[in-house]
Symmetry: none
Subunit: 422 residues, 2 copies
């Protein structure tokens, strides 16, 4: 079963809004085991809309429209579809009553153009609109299926969930097998290195799909498979997860779609551990990431941004001899990273102290190159580890990667502690 989503609206072509409907519908269709092969966006123009319908009919069995069914002259989706199918339009009585009642309740006159929102294609099924006035349509014609939904997400989503989905299940998916999937999240490894390690699995995939993709210093793999029984699908997904985990246990941090910060907060909550941070070049980026997780308050107590050397001395007791003088290692050094991590841990009385100090650019500093960053992890009753990073990219990329790098190191250490405990 192949589907195409056609979003109708000049506002999309002008970039005034983002096509979130296509995303929502794609997720919903994937969950039904329906493959979306194309998404199209077309403006409020009947000729071009009919062209788009013709193309979609050649490559999809199910065509879903969003938008273009409001009251104004440029809302043309139903007209274009009716013309394409060689059918007529009529006013759907129930939808019209609904519109009349809406204006009567508000004691406002109903302008004539509102009647357009009650239009339905002859021979189709009207889809009631729970949160708006424009009625949707579902229709099967020859061997194709068409569903017309409103543009505003708050109307489209309940109409899809409560009206269109049941219609698809009873009219379209009579003989299909459902699709199940699972997300695996990785840190500390790039997309291409990860793919290389899984290449044999990816190349030999048949009834289970392995799809890697990267975003913001994290790599995700989606495993998906079709099966008649949910238990059968889950067994297959779990088995593949196990194979991947054996190869990549030092990188696989979650089997659901969450950032590494979330996993760290969960692990530390469970182990009753606390953390603080001292940030120089990242200026708060690490801390804001951790505190973006709901429930981080019991784990993350506070921290210090020590952007200038003066602040490193004043707020974090970094000795002057580390920072100043010809022979001094300087602010960007493993020595300073170690003191920052230790001091912030002591000052805040936490179990872990994290530190980041480096050259984010665009200019170098201390005659050190842009991208040279030191991170430190200090542990109560334990050692202080430091790592040197040599990062590429612009200022923002270097900052983000520095924060992700220390989160990865912290996660590795927490995993070790967890293993020791159990």
């Amino acid at each position: 079963m192949k589907a195409e989503i056609i979003a109708v609206g000049t506002e999309l072509l002008l970039g005034q809004i983002v096509n979130t409907n296509a995303r929502y519908l794609s997720v919903e269709l994937a969950a039904l085991g329906i493959d979306v092969y194309f998404q199209t966006v077309v403006g409020d123009n009947q000729v071009r809309l009919q062209q788009a319908i013709k193309i979609a009919e050649e490559r999809a069995d199910l065509i879903i429209f969003s938008g273009g069914i409001g009251p104004t002259q440029d809302d043309l989706t139903k007209e274009a579809l009716a013309a394409s199918l060689g059918r007529e339009l009529h006013i759907d009585r129930q939808a019209m009553d609904n519109i009349d009642r809406f204006f009567k309740d508000r004691e406002q006159p109903m302008t004539e153009n509102n009647r357009r929102q009650a239009l339905a294609i002859d021979g189709g099924t009207p889809l009631p609109n729970e949160t708006g006035l424009a009625v949707g349509n579902a229709i099967s014609h020859e061997d194709k299926h068409y569903i017309v939904l409103p543009g505003p997400p708050k109307e489209l989503m309940p109409m899809f969930e409560n009206q269109a989905k049941p219609w698809i299940m009873s009219h379209v998916l009579t003989a299909e097998t459902p699709l199940y999937s699972k997300m695996l999240k990785f840190a500390g490894i790039g997309e291409s290195a990860l793919e290389t390690k899984l290449l044999d699995l990816i190349e030999s995939q048949s009834d289970l799909t392995i799809a890697p993709y990267a975003k913001e210093s994290e790599v995700t793999i989606r495993l998906s498979t079709k099966a008649a029984l949910e238990s059968e699908a889950l067994d297959k997904l779990d088995a593949m997860e196990k194979v991947i985990e054996e190869r990549l246990s030092d990188y696989l941090y979650a089997n659901r779609d969450v950032p590494i910060e979330q996993i760290i907060v969960e692990m530390m909550t469970e182990m009753n551990l606390t953390v603080s941070a001292a940030e120089s070049c990242t200026g708060g980026l690490l801390m804001q990431g951790i505190t973006s997780i709901p429930g981080s308050a019991t784990v993350f107590l506070g921290g210090i941004v020590c952007y200038s050397n003066e602040m490193k001395k004043k707020l974090l007791n970094v000795p002057t001899h580390l920072l100043e003088g010809e022979e001094a290692p300087g602010a960007v050094s493993k020595e300073t990273a170690a003191v920052l991590a230790e001091q912030v841990r002591i000052i805040t009385d936490t179990d872990f102290g994290l530190s980041i100090t480096g050259v984010a650019g665009p200019a170098f500093s201390e005659r050190k190159p842009v991208g040279l960053v030191y991170i430190g992890i200090s542990e109560r009753n334990g050692a202080t580890a430091t790592y040197e990073l040599n990062l590429k990219g612009n200022r923002e990329t270097i900052r983000v990667r520095s924060a992700k790098a220390i989160l990865y190191r912290l996660w590795l250490r927490l995993k070790e502690l967890q293993a020791q405990k159990s």
Copy 2:
């Protein structure tokens, strides 16, 4: 001039990501006076991608691709386009050097699949990637123009702005009247309120376009106009800017596309002022925003994230009687916001101290509602101002809006100081 945007990626068809690239490119093309009639999304499949190219060639003069140029087996955009045009691919030397250097700097072995990122179509113009490894391509073939861009927005945007746009202007828009534009940036005002204040101008626009759009708590207006002579265009743009500035001087913070943090860093540098911050619910978000600006080091010295009450007492000397007890105003109060701002200013010896304390949610705290936030601005030899915010939205939105709110207040105050000086 008609354009079509083809976004390539199965992750879009699965609904894993939203097609923000189509939106960005649509806005940029509209600003160049180029009409986008269709946007298409197609998966990582060479046959379907070539079908999409064929269809686009029938209805557009300029075809822009986003995505599918990474290192992995399913990145096929360049292969599909080369096959459609009947051209060969080669390795672009400069891009390959860049990739080699990247892995060498990291002392990591370059896996063979990374060579794919240096592929370029014979006879085209390689578009260097400033923030990633995959090189872009621009090519004219028969009477059509093709541009291949990477999928990640942080690679696509600079490549479009710095490489593709100049190429379009010099290779595609040769016979068109050039378009000139200017960005006006606003803070402290919403998009609809701003539009209302400019409605007469927007409705009567003819040869000068006024296009408002909103993103991340900032509103931007793009003024654009076509003219044969640059001086003529600039005169028109300046005149309109003046009209808008007269109406909205308390909100218009820049006439170029920069965040408010940039303007604040520039104003404080000029006035030789310094600033620090104490953040509770925003957890470092404010400071990371300021320090994301190159050159912020002379202005922003440091600050403290005091997420727990213990840290508020310990690191920022907030008296216990403010925080604890039945009658205490609590951590989320104007009293605490004032102490935090004053103390961080005193501790860091800066001219301004900023503070944010509030309930970002999802759970309420201190029996106070989600979205209640207090911000404080303390000034050396001056008063400490506090403001109560009642924000709507999820945790992330509330945190971002809190940070933007205090930046707006600080900007207003700096403007006042600037006016007094001159």
